[in-house]
Symmetry: none
Subunit: 248 residues, 2 copies
Amino acid sequence: MTGSPTEQRLRAAAFELFEQQGYDATTVESIAERAGVGRTTFFRAFGSKEDVIFPDHTDVLARVRQRLAASSAAETPAAVTEAARLVLRRYLDEGDLARARYRLTRTIPALRSREIAHLQQYQQEFRDHIRRWTGEEPGADLRAELMASSVVVAHNHVLRRWLRGLTEDPEREFDAAMAQVLRTHAPSAPTEIAGDDAGAGAGARGTTVVVLRSPVDADAVLPALRRALAQAEGSEGNGPATGPVLTS
Amino acid sequence: MTGSPTEQRLRAAAFELFEQQGYDATTVESIAERAGVGRTTFFRAFGSKEDVIFPDHTDVLARVRQRLAASSAAETPAAVTEAARLVLRRYLDEGDLARARYRLTRTIPALRSREIAHLQQYQQEFRDHIRRWTGEEPGADLRAELMASSVVVAHNHVLRRWLRGLTEDPEREFDAAMAQVLRTHAPSAPTEIAGDDAGAGAGARGTTVVVLRSPVDADAVLPALRRALAQAEGSEGNGPATGPVLTS
DNA sequence: ACAGATATGGTACTCAGTACCATCGAGCGA
DNA sequence: TCGCTCGATGGTACTGAGTACCATATCTGT
C-alpha cells in the first residue's frame, strides 16, 4: 500500500467502480474524475488501466530478488521458501483488498492474464536463483525450472485457498505445501527429515518396501495404503510419495 | 495451419511486417492492406492483433481436451504425456513459423503475456484431468496442480531448447523430461503394471510389492498399513496376509 | 432468374495510451 | 519581495485497437 495520497484515491476509486459497473464498463476518465484528478495524472501514476489493481507488484518482486540475492547457494531451499513466504504475507496483509482483486482477476481475462504474467516473473527469479544450486549435470536446467514452478504453484495453491476463505491458517498450509515441494525437489529436506533418517544417505527419505501376499490387486489397496501413510505423517500434513508398484 | 486462403494471407502478411518493422510499429490496417483485404476482415478472422500469431491455439487446446477425455483415470500418466506430446508435435510441425513466433513472444511483452495465458489453459486442462486420479487424501488438490505444472514446464523446457536450436531430437528429450516428471509425480510407471497383471486373473493369489517413500520409518506406519489392508480385504472376506516389511 | 446465406468492405464510434505544452505552487537564493 | 527552478498536474490533440452497423458482392439451391 505505497503511493501518494493521489494514487491511493485513484486506486480506491478504481476498485469501487470496477465492482459497481464492471471493468470494461469503467473508463479511466471516470476513475480519474471520481478521484478528483485529471486523466493524465492517472496514466502518470499507473502505466495502464490494468496496473491500477496491481499496486506494488514491482516492489514485491524487487524484495524477492533482494531476499534471494542475500543468500548463499547452499541455503537455496530456505531462501526460496522465505522469498515465497514474503509474497504470501504481502497478500495476507492486504486482506479485503486482495480478495477484491481476486474477484476481478477471476472474472476479467485481461486482468487474469496480467496476473499470470506477474507470477511468471516470480517464477523466473526463483528459477535463476535455483539454477546456481542444481549443479552441472545434464538436466540441471530442467530441475531448476521444475522446482521454481512447483514453488510458485504451492504458493498459489495456498493463497487461492485463503482468498476463497477455505483456510484459517494459510501460513501453516504454506509450510506444509513447501515441505512437500522441497521433499521432491531438494536433495534433502531442510530440517525435519534430517534428524529422522540421519544414516540413510543421499536419498534422505525413507523407502519402505511392503510385500503383500493377498488376493487383492495393488490398485485396490493403494488408496487405502496412501491414506494410512498420510495419517501416519499427519503432523506434517503432506501426502506420501508412493513409488513404483510391482506385482508378480 | 488451418484457415481460409484469406486467413493464411493475413497471417503471412502479419509475420512479415512484424519482423520487418516490429510489432508496435505495424498497424492492423497495414496488415490487411498487404493481404489485400479490408481491416474489418482481419478482425473477423482473428479477434485481435495478438491472436494472429497464435493461429490454432483453440484447436490444439480442444485436441488436448479430447485426448484427455478419451482416457480412463488409470491411464492418466500416459494420457497426460501423450496430450503434451501432441502440443509439442504441433510446434515441431510448424518449423520456422514456430521460430518466428518465438522471436516475437520473446521480445514483445503483450505477446509473451498472451502465450503464458495459453500455457495456463493447458495447465488447467491437465490439472482437472489429473485431479480425478490423485485420490481423496488431503493434499490431492495440490499434488494435481504440481504435476500439471511440472508437465507443462517439462514440455516448455524441451520446446524452448528446440526453438533455440539446442537440440536435434526434441522428442527424445521430451521423453526423458516427462519420465523425470512422472518419476516424481506418478505413483507407478504407467503401462507396465496393467500389462503384467493382465494374465494373473482376478482371484489369483499374487504377491504384491509396494514401494512407498515417506519420511517416516516403516515401524511407525506398519500398524496403519496393516489396518488399511485388513479393511481393503475385509470386504472380500479374506484374512490379511502381509509379508515381511523391509526398509532401506 | 430469384431468394437467402455467407463473406467482405466501409464508416463511424469509443476508449486506451502517448506526446506535448501550459499552468500552478512550493521552495530557494539574491 | 522578486524571480527562478522544479515537480506535479491539467488540457489538448493524436494514433490505433476493437466494436457496431449497414451496404454490397458472391455463391448456393430451386
